[in-house]
């Protein structure tokens, strides 16, 4: 069997979740065998959609057997995908599913709605414990921020939190989200003002990474004892879970996503009998709390040498799923389209 080349095209490579995707992808290569797969990783450091499209097309010219595409903004990759389809280069989408008009798409990823719900559950449990009464008797305001409007991976996460919490705490008032900014310092200033304005909120929530770092900082600095959940797992968040400064984190499991994307893509490429898979290969999210934080942090030691081990249950489960008969990717987009 020939050696296959798979290209992982990222965006926002400076964000830690992108390195996790890459780490997962490399772990898959190690498992399958360096002699069988060449993995190339490319992509713009920042949020540059057109550049990501160009990199994708250039990578195809350079010669690759399949592309794994980190899809953050749903619209930008439609046409590159059409061109790739024409050229016969299959795409495995990760992070978020493409719009429904991309036919026969193969998506490997977690469900942001489920991620949000899991986060909401952690928070509700913590609230019940803190106030010593059932959720249905709680009431208060919930302040939410959003750093970039319009990214499904963020908005669906946010909507899930609102829906799940509202169901359990009917007397909660969700304030409309405010612009919490992408930049760390600007995000701090905005969240600080929001907390000044609503110092007695039930809790504060934001689907964005830097926003959560700042909510945590302000809470710790000002001694505000409300639950908080991260939806990303940078080192600072892991430490915060360990130190008990936040309730927990719900990871979208980008490591497993990267791993399974490579694994499934390679498998599909090598098995010439089968057509390239279509549909949504679910990656389970991962809740990290007091229970498993020690193991998680240990897994990160030595440049993340233990991550493959830590994520093994999810990887094994997902790897065992058949690549046929998958649910359609339109499930991801819910009723949004």
């Amino acid at each position: 069997q020939d050696k296959v080349t798979i290209s992982l095209i990222q965006i926002l490579t400076v964000q830690e979740w992108a390195s996790e995707v890459e780490a997962g992808a490399r772990a898959a290569v190690a498992d399958i065998g360096e002699d069988k797969i060449t993995l190339r990783v490319q992509g713009p450091a920042g949020f540059e959609l057109a550049k990501q499209a160009q990199v994708t097309l250039s990578e195809v010219e350079r010669g690759t057997d399949a592309i794994i595409l980190s899809n953050v903004a749903p619209g930008a990759m439609i046409e590159p995908a059409a061109i790739l389809a024409e050229r016969g280069v299959p795409i495995t989408w990760i992070v978020s599913a493409p719009p429904n008009e991309v036919e026969n798409a193969f998506f490997v990823g977690s469900d942001p709605y489920a991620v949000g719900e899991a986060g909401a559950n952690l928070i509700v449990d913590a609230l019940e414990e803190k106030h010593g009464k059932p959720a249905s008797e709680l009431s208060g305001e919930i302040v939410q921020g959003l750093c970039v409007p319009g990214l499904p991976v963020l908005t669906r996460r946010m909507h899930a939190v609102e829906a799940a919490v509202s169901e359990k705490i009917p007397n909660a008032t969700f304030l409309p989200p405010f612009d919490s900014k992408l930049d760390l310092t600007q995000s701090y200033a905005s969240w600080n003002q929001a907390i000044q304005k609503y110092p007695d909120a039930l809790f504060y929530t934001d689907p964005c990474e830097d926003a959560n770092k700042n909510i945590q900082k302000i809470r710790v600095d000002d001694g505000i004892d409300v639950p908080q959940v991260y939806y990303d797992n940078p080192e600072i968040a892991r430490q915060a879970v360990l130190d008990g400064e936040v309730t927990g984190l719900v990871s979208s499991n980008r490591f497993t996503e990267g791993y399974v994307a490579v694994w499934a893509t390679a498998k599909a490429l090598m098995d010439e009998e089968q057509p390239f898979p279509t549909g949504w290969l679910h990656v389970p999210y991962k809740v990290v709390d007091q229970e498993n934080i020690g193991a998680y942090i240990a897994a990160w030691d030595d440049n993340g040498a233990g991550l493959r081990e830590f994520y093994d249950p999810e990887i094994t489960t997902t790897r065992a799923l058949p690549l046929t008969g998958l649910p359609p990717t339109s499930d991801y987009n819910g009723g949004a389209q």
């Binding site: 990783v41 490319q42 450091a45 619209g75 439609i78 046409e79 970039v148 409007p149 319009g150 389209q337």
Partner: protein
């Protein structure tokens, strides 16, 4: 004497020349052209796939989106003005067109509306600048947010897709003809026309006169304010044109698309050799500048440079390109 001092201070003040032929033979852009060829060989020799039609297409198309706006920016810079809000106009044009199409408007009609909208936003820039008496760069620092914000508002912060890709608009404008994307042909045609406009027409000469000495331009009876407003409107049109061509290709619009394109456009203009001192400008240079920027991106992919290093490499190549171009010019003038 002080005249000499002046010309020593602005070694590139002579950039640009009066006629296409003279310019080609005087080769003000020779340094750049060399740099361009060098980059092409640097990428293409070890990676001949770079010369695949698909690769050339993608590179040229990506260049075109930047270049077509850069051509307009050359006019502004020649007037000692800079428009930072073009990314906002670019985004609004593409988005409004996409929304209109979704709402059932014929794409050919939608494109007219989008171009008109872009022209109007450009006009707003110009009018604000002239009425408030502040340079365009200052006004557009504010309108950049206004226009981008407008884009978020009209789109509700959501991407729009589901364009009728079989409609003649997307086939003709979004497609390839004679081996190259229509976008590239449109850009080439626009560049040729605008080169002519800048160097051979009354309007072009007025633009350069204003940039050369605004007070003198006023004192010889040029309608400085009108020329400024006209130019910002026309740059708005070009930004919208680029936005529309982007939609024609991508067949989707993202609320944040184009963010930061102004820096690439300005980079194309200045790498291209248009002097920020005003009074002059080079369309050919801007095209080469835009090409060089895209080539760097391509090179990084073909060489498989680690993403952590790619920005560093990009920066270094830009600095080297500017440096070589200026050194070549200096050698020539001395």
């Amino acid at each position: 004497m002080s005249q000499e001092a002046v010309s020593k201070l602005t070694p590139d003040a002579k950039t640009g020349g009066p006629s296409l032929f003279a310019r080609l033979t005087r080769f003000d852009e020779a340094g750049l052209l060399l740099g361009f060829v060098f980059l092409v060989l640097l990428i293409g020799i070890p990676h001949p796939e770079f010369f695949n039609p698909g690769s050339i297409e993608a590179t040229l198309r990506q260049t075109a989106f930047v270049a077509i706006i850069a051509f307009g920016m050359v006019f502004l810079v020649a007037m000692v003005e800079i428009d930072l809000s073009i990314s906002g106009i670019y985004a609004v044009a593409g988005m409004s067109m996409a929304l209109l199409i979704k709402a059932g408007v014929d794409p050919w009609a939608a494109v007219c509306v989008a171009l008109l909208a872009g022209t109007l936003l450009g006009l707003v820039n110009g009018l604000l600048s002239v009425l408030l008496g502040v340079p365009l760069i200052i006004v557009s620092l504010g309108t950049l947010s206004v226009f981008f914000g407008l884009n978020l508002i009209i789109s509700g912060g959501l991407a729009v897709f589901g364009m009728p890709r079989d409609h003649s608009f997307f086939q003709i404008i979004g497609g390839n003809h004679f081996g190259l994307p229509m976008t590239v042909w449109i850009t080439i045609a626009t560049g040729i026309v605008l080169h002519f406009v800048l160097w051979r027409t009354r309007y072009g000469a007025q633009v350069r006169a204003i940039g050369s000495n605004t007070a003198a331009a006023k004192f010889l009876g040029i309608k400085v304010a009108r020329t400024r407003v006209l130019t910002t409107a026309f740059v708005g049109f070009l930004a919208a044109l680029s936005g529309v061509l982007t939609l024609a290709f991508f067949k989707a619009s993202e609320p944040t698309i184009g963010a930061g394109i102004e820096l690439r456009v300005i980079a194309a203009v200045v790498i291209g050799g248009t002097s920020l001192a005003g009074g002059s400008g080079t369309i050919l240079g801007a095209a080469l500048g835009a090409l060089i920027i895209t080539l760097i991106d391509s090179g990084i992919v073909f060489y498989g440079i680690d993403p952590d290093y790619s920005q560093f490499v990009t920066g270094v190549v830009i600095v080297v390109a500017i440096g070589l171009d200026r050194l070549a010019k200096r050698r020539k003038t001395s």
